[in-house]
Symmetry: C2
Subunit: 226 residues, 2 copies
């Protein structure tokens, strides 16, 4: 497998989609798939698919297509699914709880170790089998059981502070749901943020492009222009 080739961010962003699509194909009993059929199901061209997968080595066979299970396994390997990654959750409000209860961490190669909060009503309880500890014990816990990733579902005001504590305690990645652009000295940690507002504003943009502006707004626009 080629590991030293430069892989663009756009390709990296598509890898999880390939993995998800191939998992669905596998579940539906599909054994092999052509690059054009795979592309169609993902809104990409066959040539795009071949280019993307070429970055990581030769998976397909001319005239035969891709073997779903081995391609899925290879992409999973590239994504680090068998690395034994572990994760802890900071903040067990509705969002933290929803993700702990519903998200399939193990299907994504992550083992959930524990959750942390400051609310006496939840500290000492379990959420879907995950123990909830007081945030004060975070550093002690991580000394005993290092975690690869800390998931941040704390209020925005606590985002940077809890992020700093996670980094100081040695986590390698932060999965940030706080809608706050936390920042750290370069290379200290990898931050992946799920910004709900970016997603909704993208949707807002796309639907706005499809609907004509009403006449009044249109007129205001024209007046502004030179």
């Amino acid at each position: 497998m080629k590991r030293n080739v430069h892989v663009s961010t756009a390709v990296i962003r598509r890898l999880p989609r390939y993995y998800r699509q191939l998992s669905e194909l596998q579940e539906s009993g599909t054994v092999r798939i052509s690059s054009s059929a795979l592309g169609k199901s993902m809104g990409l061209t066959a040539s795009q698919i071949r280019q993307d997968l070429f970055c990581f080595g030769e998976f397909g066979q001319q005239g035969y297509g891709y073997k779903v299970d081995s391609l899925k396994e290879e992409i999973g390997e590239i994504l680090g699914i068998s690395r034994g990654h572990t994760i802890i959750v900071l903040g067990t409000g509705n969002l933290g709880r929803a993700i702990i209860e519903n998200f399939k961490f193990s299907s994504n190669g992550f083992r959930m170790l524990a959750a942390f909060d400051v609310d006496p009503a939840v500290v000492g309880t379990e959420i879907a089998g995950v123990p909830v500890y007081h945030a004060d014990s975070l550093e002690d816990f991580l000394r005993e059981k290092p975690a690869s990733v800390g998931m941040l579902t704390v209020p925005i005001a606590a985002a940077q502070e809890m992020g700093d504590r996670l980094v100081a305690a040695g986590v390698k990645g932060i999965w940030n749901f706080t809608n706050y652009e936390i920042s750290f000295p370069k290379d200290e940690v990898v931050v992946e943020s799920v910004h709900f507002s970016d997603s909704l504003l993208t949707l807002s943009y796309l639907i706005s492009q499809r609907e004509p502006m009403d006449q009044e707004t249109q007129n205001q626009k024209e007046e502004k222009e030179p």
Copy 2:
């Protein structure tokens, strides 16, 4: 403002980040900012910033930089924030509830009309002031009060069916949190999905790239290669 220029998906995806960053700058009292300072705060180069914003017209002034409030306003306009978009929520489990309670829809230009569920324990109640109706009444409701967007936080098994009902009832966009790749005939509706697993797998990839593989895994890899 130039409206007919082709704008790449990558630029569109960055617009909400600009909007978010400019909102934070505005709140902190910053009046104007250079493209290099704006770029630095977003991990982009000054030239990238200038290119992006050039797609939508001339906002900056040589040697002066950008006026934070007017640039924010213009980008908000492009994103459709003043279009009076409306939204309804399908599914009031933990995730739906978390988003209704915590997400600032109005700051993103959306007015929340109602939520729908089938659980008798929540139908007829309110969540953070938002009325919850039975899913059976979805079509009747939308005939009275059309919504721009339907947010899907239903279980995965109900994703496509509820999506189809939303489209048939005339929504223009679907904000999909079901981790299911819902699909519709092209151009019928805009779908924007928040796939938590894509985000976590990207993080998994990025941290895997930083840590050396352990020796055993490395050996297995090498044996596989010709």
